[in-house]
């Protein structure tokens, strides 16, 4: 039991695209920053220039080394590996020679613990300006998290950050609670993937989790390829200089930066493509058909270099991927992705598949409580379309109801908000896994405390 009522807890949700961190009890995360981290493998030349170009950005690498150095009993191997890499968290806006952009999370699970460490450190020291030793910590975890990954999280949090208490809560459960339902079907459409999970009485039914790799990022990638196939180059902001020659007239000069990595260039282009997607795309009201949309008016978007790109039917075609992934084949440049991934189901099929994996007794209740959340769910018309398709395919007796918050912030951050409320409840304090408990029972105790 942990009785730290008066100190507010911290809530962290590391997603594929962004990491959300803030204080429990607030209604939106204080810090939202990309989960992708810039990494420079140290090999002489890159090091010096990178350090010199610090430019007010955060330099995780240095801080990290110092801290591991101070800690007694730090793993020697680990230290050596860390010394060879320099991490740049939330510093992707600035181009650095040889910096690769690496995702922290793959397929919903943590791919690289060093990077997660970096994100946490950045959240504590640079954004929230707190000492993790003083605050209990609530972490959101993917619904299909593995046991070993949970234990690693617990170990890192207690051993390295010395947190006084910890709780791990499943994404789907937090979303479900935040909307006032203990039983619901949570459709979480995030950056890297879409997960459909059934929650019954506050527990995730693990058997019924259905996932697909189609998320906001796949759509962004499709947008990028579509624009490129129109013979428009999306020039990343760092790659040119734009000067005003006369009033309202600009000249663009390309810069020659041979040491920029491919992954960084792609990342910068994706940022622009994501903005195009967010500004012009919307889900079609019914199944997308090329013919019907041939004559719709195009919408202009001004790229950073001043060129204007006109988006027509693709405004509808790209979001359609969520509902009908086979459309990927018709987008130039995405054919390979479609093939690699094999068979991907559309969102309505995933929902039905997940519900059918559940016990027959609760299916009806799940149909009437489908919660749509996640960053990708902000897309216009997505909720209406999903409801419509499900009504057509669901059994006659079922009442289909798709619920999603009208507020975009609540939709995007539903997991974090759920965690924030949970951790701020005075009565929740007894649920934490505390440090003494960890010391007595070891990391595997987490499976009992946070089932």
């Amino acid at each position: 039991m942990y009785g730290g009522d008066e100190v507010s807890a911290l809530v962290i949700d590391v997603g594929w695209n962004t990491c959300k961190a803030g204080y429990a009890g607030e209604d939106a995360p204080k810090a939202v920053f990309p989960s992708l981290v810039g990494v420079i493998e140290k090999s002489g030349a890159a090091d010096g220039s990178a350090a010199a170009l610090g430019n007010g950005d955060v330099e995780m690498g240095d801080a990290e080394e110092k801290r591991t150095g101070n800690k007694p009993g730090g793993d020697g191997n680990d230290k050596a590996r860390k010394a060879n890499r320099k991490l740049y968290v939330n510093a992707l806006g600035f181009r650095r020679d040889f910096m690769e952009v690496v995702p922290t999370v793959k397929e919903g699970l943590v791919a690289d613990w060093d990077l997660v460490e970096g994100l946490w450190e950045h959240a504590f020291r640079e954004r929230l300006l707190v000492d993790p030793r003083e605050h209990p910590m609530l972490l959101a975890e993917p619904s299909h998290n593995t046991n070993s990954s949970r234990e690693t999280t617990v170990e890192l949090m207690f051993e390295k950050h010395q947190v006084p208490a910890l709780f791990l809560a499943k994404n789907a459960v937090l979303t479900s609670f935040a909307s006032g339902r203990a039983t619901s079907l949570v459709v979480d459409s995030g950056g890297g993937s879409t997960t459909v999970a059934a929650v019954h009485d506050g527990y995730v039914l693990r058997k019924a989790i259905v996932r697909s790799p189609i998320g906001g990022d796949a759509l962004t990638e499709a947008m990028l390829n579509t624009v490129e196939s129109m013979n428009v180059m999306i020039k990343p902001r760092y790659s040119f200089k734009r000067t005003e020659v006369r009033l309202g007239e600009f000249r663009v000069t390309d810069l020659d930066l041979p040491n920029t990595t491919e992954s960084y260039r792609r990342y910068q282009q994706r940022c622009i493509a994501a903005d195009i997607k967010e500004s012009v795309c919307r889900v079609a009201d019914s199944t997308f058909e090329e013919k019907q949309y041939q004559n719709i008016p195009t919408q202009p978007y001004e790229l950073p270099d001043g060129n204007i790109v006109e988006i027509g039917a693709d405004r509808f075609r790209i979001p359609e991927i969520i509902f009908n992934p086979s459309i990927l084949k018709s987008i130039p440049g995405m054919e390979k992705v479609a093939e690699e991934q094999g068979r991907i189901s559309g969102l309505p099929t995933m929902v039905l598949e997940s519900i059918n994996k559940c016990d027959a007794d609760i299916r009806r209740e799940l149909f009437s409580g489908i919660l749509l959340a996640g960053g990708n769910a902000v897309m216009t018309q997505m909720k209406e379309r999903l409801e419509k398709e499900l009504m057509e395919e669901a059994p006659q007796a079922a009442r289909v109801k798709v619920i999603s918050s009208g507020n975009n912030i609540e939709r995007r951050f539903s997991v974090w908000i759920g965690g924030s409320i949970l951790a701020s409840l005075g009565s929740f304090q007894q649920m934490w896994m505390s440090k003494p408990e960890y010391e007595e029972n070891g990391p595997s105790f987490v499976h009992r405390k946070c089932p």
Binding site: D27, F167, A169, K170, V173, L174, S176, F177, A178, S179, G180, R181, A182, T183, D201, G202, Y203, E365, S368, G369, A397, I403, E410, I417, G418, I421, L422, S424, L425, G426, S427, F428, Q429, Q430, M431, C450, P451
Partner: protein, 139 residues
């Protein structure tokens, strides 16, 4: 212990009133609420005998969450009068996120305290508060 349970307790009064409803059939419904200061579930309102489902639906506040039990009376296939006790969680979308969260997360624990609940209904707006839905569940 339920996952992410909020540690909200249950006032003894709730169980007593519920027993009365179950055994003596004194009231058609009882509405409960969470007292945040005391961290426990307490009795909010008790229906007078003879009140209908509409009266019950009206008794639920619009922008706030509640739990309720409702003694649903029906005639079964053999023409016998029967009753079934429903547990209802009322979490309207208009309520504050925090309230919805507390109610959803504490429901399981509270429901287990009340022995003899047969069926359950989750309602997030007035359309889900319907006698028809209860009838469907009974059969």
């Amino acid at each position: 212990m339920a996952n992410a349970s909020t540690g909200i307790g249950v006032n003894d009064c709730c169980k007593l009133r519920f027993l009365e409803l179950k055994v003596k059939k004194t009231a058609p419904y009882i509405i409960f609420k969470i007292d945040e200061a005391k961290h426990e579930v307490t009795v909010d309102q008790i229906g007078a005998s003879g009140e209908s489902f509409e009266d019950f639906a009206k008794a639920l506040p619009e922008g706030e969450c509640r739990y309720a039990v409702y003694d649903y009376e029906f005639t079964n296939a053999d023409n016998c009068k029967k009753t079934k006790i429903f547990f209802i969680s009322w979490c309207p979308c208009t309520a504050k996120v925090k309230a919805r969260m507390i109610y959803a997360a504490s429901k399981e624990r509270f429901r287990r305290e009340l022995d003899g609940i047969q069926l359950e209904l989750q309602a997030t707006d007035a359309s889900e508060l319907d006698v028809e839905l209860m009838r469907e569940k009974v059969y």
